[in-house]
Symmetry: C2
Subunit: 402 residues, 2 copies
């Protein structure tokens, strides 16, 4: 070869580093490590048999151009799925219509398309701190200037955001995970949702509410989305946490003035999301008795695991850990006073347990004493073992070779 | 709403216009129009029953984290599929290994990722003229400076490319569709493949050979890919034309030094391609007797349609059209001397037939007397009718209202 092709890389490709998420996915291959790291759904939470029935039906259907689940489709998504998503969104936000919905290849693509369509290099984007890694990566890749706003139990501190805005900060977008946030488990309160909507209207920015965990609540209360309070909000949904991530079917509902350019951006990105997967998701979502029973099952399953991990941590650590019982979702956020969780991770893996250090969720990547523990994918019997291994790793001396 | 959200759009989103491909996909909905426009596979060419068996098997499989076809997977792709793609690629190019393969959400995503990783605004990219619309859109979206090199029956005029290079043009990449090009049906000759590889080595650019129609040849001769001649080539493959586009499973094989940053870019784009679709494609591709019989069937089917459209055009137009019998793929490229095919399209739709004007495949978009006719998706009995309608449209006066 005459040339090293790395010399041809774009500025963006030169500055993008390797990723913690990607490296985490590799941990799946080591069966001796109990992983509290990944955000994977529980194996028994994915309705394989119901999806098999759905796919069987989709593959027997026929249309003017053959089986619609196998043929090219419109970039916006399969019409029946868009209609169903619009109906469910409108029941919560009172404004979404069919034309406001774009089906995406997972929520990750929705974040990527929003960055493409809204961010020029140097534009300001506000994220939660700690916040979802995939969002931070997308926005950093688009050369946004990232500003973090801290969260507490009630989600993003909208009072801190308001101070930034009053002081002249003019973000293009503000991204929140309103329900059972990744990584902290926090839930944006009803009051702050309203406040965030009002700030968007007053200062002119787009609110992105990335809401894959909405249905995985351990209590009965439903909070209205930010999009109920402002037409400047874009709501992201996903089948990854409630059905199966391998489908890669997500969606967004937002103002038509953004959905049109987002659709154009999606066309150059991948033409459209798999029609096969869209038909499967539509078949299952339209089966309302199944969905109701399935979500009940998931809430019971994940609530039991959250409780079990919570209890196991208290048992294994005593006062050596700060944490609170989650109210939904996949994650339990812990503080290990005095620890550097970046340095702890290799030790923990050596003890047969993995987690994600808090630094992975921060803009600056500085070491912290926090960590995200997922209770979603380990079996009940493994959760106490994982907590004990983590406690032993915290108590263990650092080997000289690390 | 306090603000029109279009005022927040990025520079890129403001300049991206509506797209011909997307508008074409909408034509699917009108059953009275015979469409020679879309590049859709024939309904009977998509092996729905074999895919149903594959998906049934994939959904009954179990792994450490549940059904692998439903769970999150590695960004690079499902290992067994990557291995199979690497094996088939290596048989042709003598260099591809497992680590050189990245599974993509259709070939369109591969083009998009290559633009992200290689193109900074103002970088030069060379495309065929006429050339694939999806490539032109991606590169224009990345703010590349596009240069066109004309094609003839033997594909890109590499002698013209060499003159440009000698005169100082320094492209980051050169994109070709080597087999049965979209839109012209041309096939890059063995000599030009070698020449293109040598030019890449001498002048230091990446060759992207986008090759979805490779297997759809009506004759027996196989030409080695450009990647057989240079390690600076990236070969794109797809299951869209041979199995089903609704799966959205494509792949690329290229130098590891590019596959690593391409994988990072893909992670921010959509985490990974649907594991469900990847498992289905792997199951079918690994069934070599099925694939051999299926490809034989496709070649016979499409060759018969190509012949039928070719004969019907000669019958309907006589000397009023220039065209040649395709040697593979989906498309027949025609010249209608004296016509403006942009202006002809609405008239043709009025007569119940659609096509894509040649201008859609050019960088400058200027009207031409050329058109792309797809013979792939219409039934044999409809091809003569489509040709007759087109001839009537060409002969018809322009209505004053258009």
């Amino acid at each position: 070869m005459a040339l090293d092709p790395t010399s041809l890389l774009s500025a963006r490709a030169r500055t993008t580093g390797s990723s913690v998420i990607r490296d985490l996915l590799r941990l799946l291959d080591d069966p001796t490590v109990l992983s509290l790291a990944g955000g994977l759904p529980a194996p028994e939470a994915m309705p394989a048999e119901r999806l098999r029935v759905a796919l069987d039906r989709a593959l027997r259907a026929d249309g003017a151009y053959g089986c619609p689940a196998l043929q090219y489709g419109a970039t916006e998504g399969v019409p029946a799925l868009r209609a169903l998503i619009a109906e469910e969104a409108c029941a919560l936000d009172g404004r979404t219509t069919h034309d406001d919905v774009l089906v995406t290849t997972g929520s990750q693509q929705a974040l990527d398309l929003l960055a493409r369509v809204l961010i020029d290099p140097g534009d300001v984007a506000v994220v939660e701190q700690p916040g979802y890694l995939g969002t931070i990566q997308v926005l950093a890749g688009a050369a946004a200037r990232l500003l973090g706003v801290p969260i507490d139990d009630d989600g993003m501190r909208t009072d801190v955001l308001e101070t930034l805005l009053r002081d002249g900060t003019r973000p293009k977008l503000v991204v929140v995970v309103p329900d059972f946030q990744n990584p902290s488990g926090a839930r944006l309160s009803a009051e702050r949702r309203m406040h965030l909507g009002a700030l968007a209207e007053r200062y002119g920015f787009v609110v992105v509410e990335d809401d894959p965990y909405r249905e995985l609540r351990f209590t009965d209360d439903v909070l209205p989305p930010v999009r109920a309070h402002t037409g400047l909000a874009v709501s992201l949904g996903s089948s990854s946490k409630t059905l199966a991530p391998g489908l890669r079917v997500g969606w967004m509902s937002g103002p038509r003035a953004l959905v049109v350019p987002l659709t154009r951006a999606k066309q150059t990105a991948d033409l459209h999301t798999s029609t096969l997967a869209q038909h499967a998701v539509h078949d299952v979502m339209a089966d309302r008795p199944f969905v109701a029973a399935h979500l009940d099952h998931l809430r019971t399953l994940y609530a039991a695991r959250a409780d079990a991990l919570d209890a196991a941590l208290a048992e294994a650590f005593g006062d050596g850990i700060e944490h609170r019982a989650p109210r939904g979702g996949f994650f339990l956020w812990v503080r290990l006073p005095g620890a550097d969780t970046n340095a702890l991770l290799p030790q923990a893996i050596g003890h047969g347990v993995a987690f994600v250090p808090g630094a992975a969720f921060s803009i600056d990547g500085r070491p912290t004493d926090t960590a995200r523990l997922s209770f979603a994918s380990l079996a009940m019997r493994d959760l106490p073992t994982a907590a004990q291994r983590l406690a032993r790793a915290v108590g263990s001396p650092v080997p000289a070779s690390i």
